[in-house]
Amino acid sequence: MTAPLPGLFAAIRALHLAGLMLLFGSAVLLLRLRRGAPELAIESGGLRRARLASSIIAVVTVPLWLGLATAQMAGDAGTMIDPQTLWLTLQDTLFGQMLALRFGLVLLLAGAVAIRTELSTALLSGAALILIAVTSHAAAASPAGFTAIGIVDDALHLLCGGYWIGGLGVLAAIMALRPEAPRLLKALSLFADWAMIAVALLVLTGMINAATIILGGEGHAAQTYLTVLGVKLVLVLAMIALALGNHFRLMPRLAKPQTRMILRGNITWELGLGLLVIALAALLGLLPPTL
């Protein structure tokens, strides 16, 4: 690992990604609920606090990401706080230019979240996620002339993951505040309709990413990388198992109060696992896959 303070760097990346993904997915689902089941478009309590915190985290983590990435590029931890080198990053690197744009977006995003404009929140958080994809590993590792494909692939991956995580956040809020709502099934179906598409796209973009890794890789796989990836795989498997159980086993029996209790617990678990997956993805982004 060449990154300085790798634990901190991974945490910063994870917090930033999780914040943007939560905001994107929750805004999209809230917009859909306003049309399909407006009484359940709830943005209060824990969800409100989490969204406000996410918007602040998205802003605060940008300068920290700039410092850590600069130190990584320079190979010198001291440059993390060196104004000249930080300026060099912002001015002369694609990453720095995209980060400056992203900073502008997340500042606007914080305002949008504060005044509860869901369409702006969705657009701004989505745009910020797309900008991350521009300088992602997938884009950098794409064969010459295919960088745009790598960017689109990674952007879709982030947006689909965002819809999944953020949507779960909204469902968790509904289950906490309105577990007896008559149209709870409608809200769950609205989420699930697009979640199926999102998972399908996650599969597609994941396949392209995997192909890029296999075709572009050299040397033998690093043990640490494989271990972290293995843990991540187990967590994703658990998430999918929970999602399938919720959809096919619990949703048809939603009339029973006990089922709703189980569903509420499962959604909380799925959301927690999703956040752990994001943390591991952020860590993997700093680990060399091959030696």
Binding site: A140, E218, A241
Partner: protein, 113 residues
């Protein structure tokens, strides 16, 4: 069903590509015996950030023969050294891709009369 779920999980968990910039080829080639080269070119696996990528050409005594400033264009790094006397030379490079990851390495070649 179980197999499908496992495949789904494996695919969904595929991480973004992590192929950091690595040296694909060099001219002169590593370990080659050549006459004094006009240019030393290093070709990498991905486009580089010129502001944070570079190389040094040194002889076995550590003296710098890099000559003109290193030029970085896309995935190619070019050194234009002064005329090199016969002997062993090392090119130490560091490369940063657009994903901000830094890699480092060294190649050596021998200049003959």
């Amino acid at each position: 069903m179980t197999r499908s779920l496992l495949c789904l999980a494996l695919i969904c968990a595929a991480s973004p590509a992590f192929a950091h910039a690595h040296l694909v080829k060099s001219s002169p080639a590593a370990g080659s015996h050549i006459r004094s080269p006009r240019h030393v070119t290093l070709t990498f696996s991905e486009a580089l950030e010129p502001a944070f990528s570079g190389a040094l050409l040194m002889d076995s005594d550590g003296r710098n023969f890099s000559g003109a400033p290193v030029k970085v264009d896309g995935s190619v790094m070019t050194l234009t050294p002064d005329r090199l006397a016969p002997g062993l030379y090392h090119v130490s490079w560091h490369a940063v891709g657009h994903d901000t990851h830094r890699t480092e390495g060294e190649i050596s070649f021998i200049v003959v009369k």
